[in-house]
């Protein structure tokens, strides 16, 4: 195939990727987006395989088959709660490929590497390997293999920045003279180390931001590979992914009122936090009372957190909302942008439980409606409903946009115990007069509420009886 035809093939493939993202803007067309993305990728693979640069096929075919064999279970069998760690692992795979290709390119061509190419190659290797180890650490933390709490020591920022400086200096020296090939292994080790060090210090609550950032790095490293190989498709696809990752990290930072620097160098959730209020009394309630309260409501807003999904309570929650809607109660789900462990994660978990997506309302749209809500049911969410974020300047989450559930007429919090949340902060919502605590395992407790609700007489009957 001539280079011209090859380039045209790549162009069509790039257009496919752009349409894939465009169609993803609406759930109705989103699956079409995936299809065209797949077409774009297949086209890119075929065009590459037919190019004259490829003279040997045996290695490629084995690797393609093995890669598919590993990818199919990773795509089809992973539970939805584990999507964040799958994504992290997948980022690690892609970034490893970038790093390895960069490494081989260097050793195949040194010392005759132009300055421009060497700059791109240096950043390709740096970004590729740091994304590789960073994503592996993120995977470990999300999967529960590594410690979830940030690992922090004195002078860590200085150490990390010096590591990065060594990496950038080696790139600079290699650009000045690509013949200094002994610097290249140093660059690789530094990149691998920096990626791990960067993510090790980040706590569980910041995972949505980190995983978005790694998504962006994976894209940028692919774009750098495009510069090295002078391949426009890689540059375009890499730029699309890079901008997506950057945009999502900005959204995540904003949703937590944090800056990039603060996420990367701040070590959130590391400090032992503010005074506990555990001695204060809380009002407790029973599944039976909760059922009565919910049944008498006009509007019920459910605030699900990752705790609900971890307890596999989402199916019981769906049963509850179906039953309430059949009884004429309006039900909405309030979704905070950082609910779950990656951007938008909670929406997927609720969709999996067959909850229609038009009931899922995001933070900005639901907050004005919360004062009209008769009952807010908080299941496994904590920090995103903590009013301290609005007024307590000493709280670590001060300034973070929250769901104003304390504005609702009444609040029922389903919680295993009075333990503090992901970020280790006590929640004053639990001590309000309008709040009732329903202690127990989310799935069991919601199940009991559903049972109690089904025992109640139909709403019309109840209204007629009370009318007499």
């Amino acid at each position: 195939m001539s280079d011209f035809v090859l380039d045209l093939g790549y162009l069509v493939s790039a257009v496919c990727f752009i349409f894939a993202l465009k169609w993803l803007s609406d759930p109705m067309t989103a699956r079409r987006g995936v299809k065209i993305g797949e077409i774009g990728m297949v086209l890119a693979i075929i065009a590459t395989l037919l190019s004259h640069e490829i003279v040997q096929y045996q290695w490629i075919l084995i690797a393609l088959v093995l890669g598919s064999a590993a990818g199919i279970p990773l795509g089809l069998l992973v539970p939805m709660t584990a999507v964040p760690q799958r994504t992290a692992l997948s980022h690690a795979f892609g970034a490893l490929a970038v790093g390895l290709v960069g490494t081989a390119e260097f050793y195949l061509h040194e010392p005759d590497i132009g300055k421009v190419t060497m700059v791109a190659l240096g950043f390709e290797v740096l970004l590729g390997y740091l994304t590789f180890t960073g994503s592996l650490v993120a995977f470990g933390k999300l999967q529960g293999i590594a410690r979830d709490r940030p690992w922090i020591y004195k002078g860590q920022n200085a150490v990390n920045l010096s590591i990065l400086a060594v990496g950038l200096a080696s790139v600079g020296l290699l650009v000045a003279d690509p013949g200094r090939s002994m610097l290249f292994p140093i660059l690789i080790v530094v990149a691998l180390g920096f990626g791990a060090m960067l993510v090790i210090r980040i706590g569980g609550a910041d995972m949505p931001t980190v995983i978005s950032l790694l998504n962006g790095y994976a894209g940028l490293s692919a774009a750098m590979m495009g510069f090295v190989l002078d391949n426009k498709l890689l540059i375009i696809a890499g730029a699309l992914d890079g901008s997506s990752g950057l945009l999502l990290s900005i959204i995540m930072c904003r949703a937590m009122n944090r800056s990039f620097a603060n996420v990367l160098f701040g070590g959130f959730g590391a400090t032992e936090t503010v005074a506990r209020m555990e001695e204060l009394p809380v009002r407790t309630t029973s599944p039976e009372e909760t059922a009565l309260l919910l049944d008498s409501a006009r509007l019920v807003v459910v605030v699900p957190g990752f705790g609900a999904a971890a307890a596999q309570a989402q199916h019981k929650i769906r049963e509850l909302s179906d039953m309430l809607m059949r009884r004429g109660v309006e039900v909405r789900f309030a979704i905070h942008p950082v609910a779950g462990r990656m951007p938008g994660h909670m929406n997927v978990l609720l969709a999996e439980a067959n909850i229609p997506y038009d009931l899922l309302v995001d933070l900005d749209a639901i907050n004005p409606e919360l004062p009209q809500a008769d009952v807010v049911l908080v299941v496994g969410a904590n920090d995103v409903v903590n009013p301290a974020a609005r007024h307590d300047q000493h709280s670590p989450i001060y300034g973070m946009p929250i769901l104003d559930v304390d504005q609702a007429r009444s609040v029922v919090v389903v919680k295993r115990s009075m333990r503090s949340g992901f970020a280790g902060i006590d929640n004053e919502l639990f001590y309000l007069d309008k709040t009732q605590m329903l202690f127990g395992d989310a799935r069991e407790v919601i199940g009991e509420v559903v049972d109690e609700l089904s025992k109640l007489p139909g709403r019309a009957v109840a209204a007629a009886v009370s009318g007499i």
């Binding site: 490629i60 990818g71 390895l100």
Partner: protein, 109 residues
Amino acid sequence: MTKEQLEVGLYIFVLASFLGFQVITRIPGLLHTPLMSLTNAISGISLVGSLILAGSGQGALASVFGAIAVFASMTNVVSGFLITDRMLKMFHRRDAQKQRARRPQERAP
């Protein structure tokens, strides 16, 4: 890479980034997880570079590193697309549910 190639590359990179920002800003928070899986699958485009290296016939280093890279990026591509589709399959509207329930009755007579 020559300076001219770099210039063209930078133009493409900057324009594609702007386009990416525009397109992705329109994606609602509802679909941010599928968005990340899809861009993850697309970033598996490093497969193209891996294929070129693995098939270049430039010796053992190129073949071994290239083959590992092809394996890794192919895993990324396949799992990324599959899981994105699996997630999107689950999203449905309230009225769609009702329509699905009604349809068989409409066809019956």
